[in-house]
Each structure stands twice: as structure tokens, then as C-alpha cells.
Assembly symmetry: C2
Homo-oligomer: 244 residues x 2
Amino acid sequence: MTKRGGAVELAVLGLLHESPMHGYELRKRVSTLLGWGRVLSYGSLYPALKQMRRAGWLTEDVPAPDQADGAAPAAAGGRTAGRKAAARAGTGKPPAGRATAGRRGKIVYKLTAEGKERFEDLMSHCGPSAWEDDSFGVHFAFFAKTDAETRMRILEGRRTRLEERLERVRTSFARSRERVDKYTLELQRHGLESVEREVSWLQELIDDERSRAAPTVRRFRNAPDGRDRFRAPGDEAGAGNREE
Amino acid sequence: MTKRGGAVELAVLGLLHESPMHGYELRKRVSTLLGWGRVLSYGSLYPALKQMRRAGWLTEDVPAPDQADGAAPAAAGGRTAGRKAAARAGTGKPPAGRATAGRRGKIVYKLTAEGKERFEDLMSHCGPSAWEDDSFGVHFAFFAKTDAETRMRILEGRRTRLEERLERVRTSFARSRERVDKYTLELQRHGLESVEREVSWLQELIDDERSRAAPTVRRFRNAPDGRDRFRAPGDEAGAGNREE
DNA sequence: GTTAGCATGTAAGGAGTTACATGATTTT
DNA sequence: AAAATCATGTAACTCCTTACATGCTAAC
């Protein structure tokens, strides 16, 4: 019920954490968030949104066209929504009295307090699933919205995961060398190289985090981007992570 | 019906193309074939095998224990099957008269003539799906079993696909620069770099294929063990290729 | 004679996609 | 007023995984 451990939920929560948005824009933002070439399909997005509304993480507001302007579409990316609302206001032409009534109005999705909690929970109490490719990407994308300890845990978990993979791949690579043709071998070599490179990237990030986190002072409050992140002072220390 | 365009079918066809095998071994081989860290689950493999038998691409032989030895398990990887068969022969103890009767014997999967045709078809008449990540990997792994023209078509299709992706990612990256925090930005930068690197890799492979296909134009770029990387970003001159 | 690991399978379901269907708004 | 684009939604399907269930063979 509250399952849906997929990348989409976290991505939506994270983006709505910044500002309310409607689905269409949300799709674009989710799609470019990572480095996914592909776009998220509506067939994934809307059912996920509905389910999240049922769970209480977000609300669906249909902005009444008469009073909509400054209020509803929000700053978002500043682009589409803003321009449109402005244009509509300029012409002074709300298309009819309805729009909210007959279904199919523009819907602005907005995080609830529970939704924010859910987001922080998914970020900081994440299990091993967060070391997987896609899931790691989404978590990483929102690193600025979580604390240093969580960042470290995720980075190191990911590195460990990749090193395990490396181990396995190296073994089978060595065993293959004579048995397989040059194409198969080249594929495996290339895969190996990619994973190795990703491990060094992670290591750099880890070193970077460490150098920032360590220096002499203990952080009482970390505010990377001016937001205050509340988290009970003593908790979470052991980080005994388990399944979601 | 005969659909199943997934990576598993082609991987199985390709591996059985070399030699018959039973499912357990097949799983291991499929898992290490690419550079997938993960292993293929039985829940994927066995239903796929069954469906392929129904389609007529392969047969399921239960080797009769009495006469099994040299015949059935074949050279395969040479490891497991061989040792076991030998051991059983040595003790002279076929466990009973049944084994084939009551279900649950060891099953050796073997390609039929139709299966070989199917494999060749999937390799050479492949559509755009072959440019996708997983599917490309499987196709590439079996490049030695298809012709130069097909190899070229797949490599160039893949490169084009990645360049499209690059275009999109570059755009959104440039648009993001000021708007997003450093973590998101770093993720996108890293993604971009990875795709760029993969494009260069493909370009090298394409050049290599081309030099072998058209030997009149000599290329001296055949490094001893393929250890030359790097290619200026933004070249792509000359290669006026258009496919499809 | 029981544990360990090889070997084959099935049921349920998760996480997404494609293809379709419709409505609202803007541009030409 | 037609075309384009923005916007929301559903149904059916794909491909794969997890968790289970079973039996055979080797080894202690």
C-alpha cells in the first residue's frame, strides 16, 4: 500500500519539495533530473501521483481560474506556468465559469506535511535498494536536501555495491579471456572499465564530503542551502539500516 | 506470441548456439555475458525456456542416465556437467531406472534448426530496440556470430541513439546550471560525461569495423591491445553515414 | 542419514511502457 | 476555425524479480 519503492515516488516528492507543480511540468523535471536520456511516461506518473494523494503525501489543487494568478501555479521553474497565468490575466478572459467542475482542469500538486516527512524518511532511512543504479541517482540528486551523514552512508553503500560487482565481473572476465571471442571480451572489458571509473568518481565524492564534514567543528545544524533541516540531535547514529 | 523481444531470449539463443546446456549453467553464462553485475533469476529463465520450447526454437532433452556420458551434456563450459557425468560413470551407479519418467531430471536444452534461424533473424533484422542499453549489450556480445553489415548497422544505430540522448541532456544541463544545487549538477555532469565516453568507444569500434571491411584504405590505428582511448570531442568528420 | 548445494519450476506482483482517449489553451 | 501544444488520464501489456516449493546428488 505504502510500498511503491520506485524511483518515481522519491523524484516527485523531491521536486514538489521545492515548489508545487502540475503533472506536465513534473514529468519534464523528473526526466531531466538525473541524466536519463529517456522521459518518464504519463502512464507511470499519473497513477503514481494518484496513489500518493491517496496516501496523503500530496494534495491536488485545481486553481479556480478567476482568482488563480499569483496564488496557485507558484514560482516553479518560472517558465511555462508563469507565462501562461500572466497571459491569461492580461487578456482578462477566464474561459468559463467551470474548469474546476467538469474534471480535467489543470491540477497543481503540492506536498503536504506528511509528504515532506515521507521524503525525509525515504532519503535518510533508505535501505540497500538505494545502492541500485536508478535509485541511487534519485537519492543523489536530492543530496542537498538531506544531512551529511545520510549522504555519506549512501555514497559508501553505493561504492561497496559497485566493488562487489567489480569483484564478480573481474573473476568472470579473467576466466573468460581465452574462451570467448573478441567482441564478448571487449564488451566485458568496457563494462569493467565503466564500473571502475564510477568507483573512482564515488571515491572523489566521498573524499570531498569527508573534507567538508570533518574540519574541527561539529555541525550543530547543517544548512547547505539556507533551509533548516530538523532532525533530533542524537538520533540515527547507528544507522542500522534495513529493508524498507 | 512469438513476441518476447527481451534480452533473455536472445542471450539464451546465442549461448545455446555454441553448445547445448542445462538451465543452471545457462543462468550463470547469461549473467556474466555482458557486464551486468546482477544475475538472471530462475523466475525469468525457466518460463522463457518453456516458451521457447513451445515456439520450437529449442528441445528439452532428459539424458537417460544409462547411456548419458559422452553424448548429452556436451562440452559446454567443460566444467560442471563433465565432471559429474564422469563421476557417475566411475561409480557405476545409475540411481534408478527412472529419472526421465517422474519429471525433475536434469534437462539439456539444445537449439533446433528453427532456433538457429530465429537467432540469426533477431541479430540481423533487429529494429530500433537493439539500440537500447540492455538489448544492445546482448547483440554486441554475439557480434562474432553475425555479418559485418549487421554489426555496422547496430553500432551506428546505437551511436545515433546516444547522440540524440546527448543532445537532450546537454540542453537541459545548460538550462539547469544556475537553477539547481551542486549535487544535482554534478550528477548531470557525470551522466553527460559517461554518455560522451560511450560515444567515443562506439566510434572507435565503428572505425575498427570500417578498417577491416574496406582494407584498401589502410588504417594504422590498430593498437596492440586496444589500449588507445581518446578522441577529440566534436570530430565526427567524414563519416557521412545514414542508415535505415 | 543428514546437511549442502545442484537443478527445475510456479505464483504473485512490482515498476514501468505503449497506445489510446479526451479536454483546454494558444498560435496561426 | 484549424493546428499545435499543453494537460490529464486509463487499459493492457512487458519484462523481470522475489519468494516459495520440490527433488536429486554429493559429501561429511
